[in-house]
Subunit: 241 residues, 2 copies
DNA sequence: GTTGTTTTTGACCAAACGGTCAAGGCCACG
DNA sequence: CGTGGCCTTGACCGTTTGGTCAAAAACAAC
């Protein structure tokens, strides 16, 4: 069983399970009302439940990030998790529910680096630190990056709501901070939203398009190490007032 | 039937059908030897064959780029093309063959802007023009961009060979040109490969992650128009010697 | 119009897939 | 140690999917 790099404490500790927006039409699936026999509650109760839900989500991350939603099968996930297929469906009502759970669980963590952008700090240092943190995530959590990439490239059918609400709110907030810096002459005049997009694009590229990057660079090179230096100069030059 | 923006002549004219590398294990599928009944030859002979192959590939582009390889079904493509499913399989031996044909047909066109990078031109003007051309492709051919994105995010199972040979060769070639410019002091000292990656990442982001960009920016904005300005300043600042 | 070839399709098939169910195993707790 | 609830699974089901096939339709050449 492939478990990937051991997750940092903050990562494992996060168990927010933010509910998906009602527009996805998926919440109904989870709320089976109070009919007869059913799987465990939304909030895991026993030790076994928390452990198995974690195992399943870890396996699902591995499989979904590699094959996309349609490309992944319950059998693949079951094998990866070391559980039987009906057992998966004891903990999650459907394949889609596993996917949604994964996405909403990881969303917060994925945006943490942006949240850390501190309006009170030194503008250029703050932004460069953000770039470095995002690049680190591409190195340490490429599967998470690809999971989102797969979802968004295909039109984010299970995430649109979260994008237009939560994500937009956070980005608008931080964009205002950046705009403040620009107007105060502390960084160059650049469009804050597109600055954020550029950071996403440039850092996630090294996770999402890893095979291409490696194919072009050839062997015996460390793409992310090189990218760190390149992006440092790029953003230093771009942001200098 | 969704036909998308009318393709420019140069686009439609291209019919290279570069053979996929033998490593993909797909070429064998096309070469059914000389057994009994079989579909039309690799090289279309009649008018009807060329027309229908084009129709199928156009439909396949629409469907594959939206749903990925596994997410797309032959029925979807058939409906989109206005043909029957067995008819698709009269022109292509399998779903995978359609996908491979699409990828190899589009690969060349996709790289044309990079090929146009002229060692004899003015370095900064050449690079800025490349950025603009790539961004135009994100606007005019988002489906093509997403097709590749889907493929590469999932590990490029049907393209690895082409990446490590054709693509690498072209990029290495152009990287040498850029390195020459840098060493001649005509542009700033930057890693040429990562410079090219950054152009890909920043321009294709607006096609591949379109839903995210639009969700964050809100309505009534033209992402690519704004991106054009932003990327112009970004690369101007980065490349100034 | 007859004939030989190319093109098209309805009916069909086997495998894969998401999901169900009833029954059995397991475990905590009294 | 017994009992009630939690956990697990083999067998099964209906649907979807990629692909086949034989036969019909369309077409081209004479």
């Amino acid at each position: 069983m492939h478990v990937g790099a051991s997750l940092p404490d903050a990562w494992a500790a996060r168990e927010t399970f933010r509910a998906a927006g009602p527009e996805t039409g998926l919440v109904r699936l989870r709320a089976r009302g109070s009919d007869g026999r059913m799987g465990p509650q939304k909030t895991p109760r026993t030790k076994i439940q928390t452990r198995n839900r974690e195992t399943i989500l870890e396996a699902a991350l591995e499989v979904f990030s590699q094959h996309g939603f349609r490309g992944a099968t319950l059998d693949m996930i079951a094998v990866e998790a070391g559980l039987s297929k009906p057992n998966l469906l004891y903990y999650f009502p459907s394949k889609e529910a596993i996917h949604v759970a994964l996405l909403s669980q990881l969303m917060d963590t994925w945006l943490d680096p942006l949240r850390d952008l501190d309006a009170a700090g030194d503008p250029i240092a703050e932004l460069l630190a953000y770039v470095r943190r995002k690049l680190q995530m591409s190195r340490d959590f490429p599967r998470e990056s690809r999971l989102f990439a797969n979802e968004i490239v295909q039109g984010a059918p299970r995430m649109q709501a979260a994008l237009a609400t939560d994500l937009k709110a956070l980005v608008d907030d931080k964009a205002a901070v950046i705009r403040g810096w620009a107007e105060g002459g502390r960084i160059a005049q650049v469009d804050p939203h597109h600055l954020i997009f550029s950071i996403w694009a440039l850092t996630q590229h090294y996770a999402d398009f890893d095979v291409q990057v490696r194919a072009v660079l050839g062997q015996n090179r460390d793409p992310i190490e090189e990218a760190a230096r390149f992006l440092d100069t790029l953003f230093t030059r771009l942001l200098a007032p």
